[in-house]
Subunit: 234 residues, 2 copies
């Protein structure tokens, strides 16, 4: 099972944009919600800052390292499946030829019509293996070096996103004042980010902006309610 | 761009397992790290509990709702691309036939050998569209009803995972005592979860267990260090 978040296919804007989207989506949302939640329960901005920075550290490392290991694991999965296909093409070519016929048969291509394709693949075992990887298994070759770059991009975007809702707590005296600025900053950032994300992902930008702001607001609202309910004003 | 986390292909254990893995990975890691971080900075277990529950609410909603919208957006992307392919197959069949020849040509199949396949597809326009979706665009048909089920599973797994590191804070008098139990509980849970995850995903279970525990420890260690540095003991 490929574990990388958001598999890229048919997406032209590159993997970096995708990794930024992954990191910033959560980075803008969760620290914002946590800070809002704590603002409902404590007076001291320093506790919110401490918790917020701890969350940003934890979240960025968990997402970055998680992404790194998932990408590595996908790459290993691809290699091991490719070795298995190579062995099968070499050891049991007749069974593999039948599989090509079956794959094409599932689209209504008769065995007779598929036969020239099978023969062409048999002449080029490497292309045959590539064909099976893509058409039988639906696996695409992972880009080398992707894991580390992806991890750093995701973690960096998470940190950048997370500092936006937290910034007002550095400059305000009370959590309730900071919360107002934090809501303003973060909703604006979510709307802009959602709009830009929509342009890249093909969702209508305005709708994407509203959806992104909705996720942030729902998460923050729930966190605020729960923290207020449980923590009270301490 | 498909936005769903961890696209499923060639994975036999079902999407539910995959959604549980997504939710529980972050649920075990981030609340654990946040609680550990705060334990390095505050004495009161009630602040850790408040922050922890606020984080669990925020994280589960952000991940669940994010997953829901991403799955919906993937389904819409698939539908719109399928309509485009249907129109192309209907309006410019000659160009689409050339594309089939090109796809097969990239695996060393000559235009001559591909011709019977092209003719077979031309007789069944629906299968032809399916063929283009999978082989030209690499898109797979999303399962209907997936978005909501996926969102609830991810959010539920996040909550279940997040309560494990937090539980000791309900029963302990000091954060430092709770932290010791939390580390014990969570490391055990991460090892078990990583092991089971490895069995399902095809990674070696022992290695998966150690990697999963490593992510949790690194995130918690960083959060603890940062919170201690900034927050001091208040």
């Amino acid at each position: 099972m490929p574990l990388t978040r958001h598999t890229e296919r048919h997406f032209t804007s590159g993997e970096t944009v995708r990794d930024i989207v992954i990191g910033m989506s959560d980075g803008l949302t969760v620290p914002f919600a946590l800070a809002a939640g704590l603002s409902g329960a404590v007076e001291s901005t320093s506790i919110v800052i401490t918790a917020g920075l701890a969350e940003i550290a934890a979240g960025s490392i968990a997402m970055g390292l998680g992404g790194y290991l998932a990408a590595r694991s996908d790459a290993e999965h691809y290699s091991s499946e490719r070795r298995r296909e190579q062995a099968e093409v070499h050891d049991i070519p007749a069974a593999e030829a039948r599989e090509v016929t079956e794959v094409l048969g599932s689209y209504g291509v008769s065995a007779e019509a598929a036969a020239p394709v099978v023969r062409a693949l048999q002449e080029r075992p490497d292309a045959w293996v590539d064909f099976m990887m893509r058409f039988e298994l639906g696996l695409e070759k992972p880009e080398p070096g992707r894991a580390l770059r992806s991890a750093l991009t995701i973690a960096g975007a998470y940190v950048a996103g997370g500092l936006i809702p937290l910034a007002p707590y550095f400059f305000s005296h009370t959590t309730s004042q900071a919360l107002l600025y934090s809501i303003g900053f973060t909703l604006s950032a979510l709307l802009v980010f959602g709009f830009v994300k929509g342009r890249f992902t093909g969702t209508r930008p305005v709708r994407s902006a509203l959806q992104t702001a909705l996720i942030g607001s729902a998460a923050a609202g729930a966190a605020f309610g729960i923290a207020r309910l449980i923590g009270g004003r301490t």
